[in-house]
Amino acid sequence: MTTVTVTFFADLRRFLPRGADGPQRYTVREGATLADLLAAIGVGPDAELTAAVDGELARPDTPLRDGADVMLLSPMEGG
């Protein structure tokens, strides 16, 4: 199995488990991709987000390594 740490930023924090804050750990099958992780979290395929794996911009088919740091971010906001 592959365990990754996921940090939710900005509007993506709505996918945090209720009452949770800070980075969360998720375990997915070995060989899983970012798309698999997003599905496990409950993020739909059409959600507007930017994802990074180990600090690099990632795509849905980006593979996940055990211990990877995943960032889910929104690139959009006003101010």
Binding site: F9, A10, R13, T50, G78
Partner: protein
């Protein structure tokens, strides 16, 4: 009559007279407020070619028909005039409580005419209106002025909109602050107010806005509270600025005058860093449960911070401390939102959160738009970096990227027009015209307004907004129906209402049997009115263009060609019912929008 009172207050500062206009139901349904009111009055009362800082300009304070209703997002008002920064349609929105208080005082808008001989402030106490001497307030910063007015009038519930010293000194991007931590920042409305020697408008209202369907409106308000986690969590927790790392990762963060799209140090100055280091609480606008406004508090010494944490916040918040002992930041002035974190921070190459917060606080108490100020500094710093501006030009003051303390000093120099601050107080376009030497190449202005901190090379949705917003480089997508309508009715853009809910809010407040099609028409009407004003003042298709900087590529995004920009512009003209070549609203469109009378002033 629900949602509005049918009372527009006209104040003539030249002869110190007031009059009340009662324009009737059709007026409110047609223009709705905000941009609609402002453009209508600008066309009607401001002569073509008028000096924006002269007596012929007017200053319009315009809530909308929803402003003041007890529903989240209904705390918005706009301020408008001919802009001293662009020479065209000037307008800026603000939140807070002041607009709702004006409505609760029984007024739908204020139109200020003329110029006062001496500094004055306007005191609106429900239906009573009085011009009062402001000589003792002139020259003072916003916090002092608000405290003085509340003490003088003896009511702590009075709400104040005002200018700081920058507005008095006619800094062309001076803002109008209300409730100390909210500002109508863009397009230099504070300079117009300063030119009229109108220091402040104090308001106290005691009448609830009448509602057509109170239970229906309360149901919508409850929806916001009950869906907070799902719909507004990030705003609720951070305000804006929590997405900066994502923007940088995608290569769309303005860095060093929009030349780079990313910075390694974004995480040191984003809203998450603000929360973790200097934020003491979140606060709200009128009737809003989202509470998306940061309040920060920084002390110079650890001991003072600890004491403030215990005495003021009862241990529930940790006051920030400047490890270098340089700056104290007063919580009365709120905290930096995304635009300020970017414009006063990342785009200037800064990763010093404390200094950025100080610059933001100073902009609030001196009364300046952080976006135009930051972008003007970025332009000047690139000029300096490339030798276009030298120490001889700046009076020996270096204008360097990465110099956080230098920025803090420059903020004050600009507000008081000291040294090179006098040049920069004109805004970047005027400053570039004055010095020449190729400095125009470094501008990030559209129609003279410095663009906000969203790179259109990265964000396609911003392209039409910057190209075609009547105010110029405006990021609020004011060109679209959704945002255009919200501007006019007085509803916050951050609330996640869908179109049906917006329609329901308008119906429950006003009782109007309004259709989605009518809402689109209302937004078109406002945009077309503003277009008519700009055309009359000499703007045309050539002004609907991004500056040269945005033809250059970013590392991760292509430059925007003239052909692409032309296509966006033409498509928008056609969509709006304007001539596809010139952008002049067609006779059919004027007729369909029932704007014949307004158009008669646009000739």
């Amino acid at each position: 009559m629900n949602g509005y009172w049918n009372k527009i207050l006209h104040v003539n500062l030249s002869d110190r007279t007031t009059r009340v206009e009662e324009p009737g139901d059709r007026f409110f349904r047609r223009y709705a407020g905000g941009r609609g009111f402002i453009a209508h009055y600008l066309l009607k009362h401001v002569p073509k070619g008028a000096d924006p800082l002269g007596p012929d300009n007017i200053l319009v304070f315009a809530p909308g028909v929803i402003t003041g209703a007890p529903v989240p997002g209904a705390g918005r008002h706009s301020v408008g005039a001919k802009s001293p920064l662009t020479g065209g349609f000037g307008e800026s929105e603000s939140g807070g409580y002041w607009g709702a208080e004006l409505k609760r005082a029984g007024w739908d808008a204020i139109v200020v005419h003329g110029v006062s001989q001496a500094p004055v402030y306007l005191w609106i106490n429900d239906g009573a209106v009085e011009l009062r001497d402001a000589a003792h307030l002139w020259g003072r910063v916003t916090g002092d002025v608000e405290a003085a007015i509340l003490a003088e009038l003896g009511d702590p519930r009075i709400r104040v909109a005002q200018i700081g010293p920058a507005g008095e000194n006619l800094v062309r991007f001076a803002c109008i602050a209300n409730d100390l931590n909210e500002v109508a920042g863009r397009t230099g409305m504070g300079a117009v107010m300063g030119s009229k020697r109108l220091k402040a408008i104090a308001v106290r209202g005691r009448s609830a806005v009448k509602l057509a369907d109170q239970p229906g409106l309360l149901a919508i308000a409850k929806w916001v509270s009950s869906t907070m986690d799902e719909k507004h969590r990030s705003f609720h927790e951070f305000g804006t600025g929590a997405a900066m790392q994502g923007k940088s990762l995608e290569g769309g963060m303005p860095v060093l005058n929009y030349r780079l799209g990313a910075s390694d140090t974004v995480a040191r100055v984003d809203a998450i860093a603000v929360r973790d280091q200097v934020r003491v609480k979140m606060t709200s606008c009128y009737s809003c449960s989202v509470r998306c406004k940061k309040v920060i508090h920084i002390e110079q010494k650890e001991e003072a911070a600890r004491e403030a944490s215990e005495t003021i916040y009862k241990g529930r918040a940790k006051v920030g401390v400047d490890p270098l002992g340089r700056y104290r930041v007063d919580p009365r002035y709120g905290g930096p939102e995304y635009e300020s974190l970017a414009a006063l921070g990342v785009n200037l190459g800064l990763d010093d959160l404390i200094a950025i917060c100080k610059s933001n606080e100073m902009c609030n108490y001196l009364g300046m738009d952080t976006v135009s100020l930051g972008a003007t500094l970025a332009w000047a710093m690139e000029c300096f970096e490339k030798g276009v501006l030298t120490l001889d030009d700046t009076g020996g003051v270096p204008l360097s990227f990465h110099d956080a303390d230098g920025v803090v000093k420059l903020v004050e120099m600009i507000a008081y027009r000291r040294g090179v601050g006098d040049l920069l107080a004109e805004g970047s376009r005027a400053a570039a015209r004055r010095i020449g030497r190729g400095s125009e190449a470094f501008l990030t202005t559209v129609k003279g307004l410095e663009m906000a901190m969203h790179d259109p090379r990265h964000m396609p949705i911003m392209r039409a907004s910057y190209l075609l917003a009547p105010t110029g480089g405006d990021h609020m997508r004011q060109t679209g129906n959704r945002n255009g309508l919200r501007n006019q009715v007085g509803l916050c853009h951050f609330l996640a209402y869908d179109d049906d809910q917006t329609l329901a809010i308008l119906k429950t407040v006003t009782g109007w049997d309004v259709t989605p099609e009518e809402l689109v028409t209302t937004a078109h009407r406002g945009l077309t009115l503003a277009r008519l004003f700009n055309l009359r003042e000499g703007f045309g298709r050539a002004d609907d263009r991004l500056p040269a900087r945005f033809s250059d590529p970013l590392p991760k995004h292509a430059g925007l060609t003239r052909e692409l920009q032309d296509t966006i512009v033409t498509d928008y003209y056609v969509e709006q019912g304007w001539d596809g070549g010139t952008g002049v609203p067609t006779a059919e469109t004027i007729c369909a929008l029932e704007l014949e009378e307004d158009a008669a002033h646009a000739g």
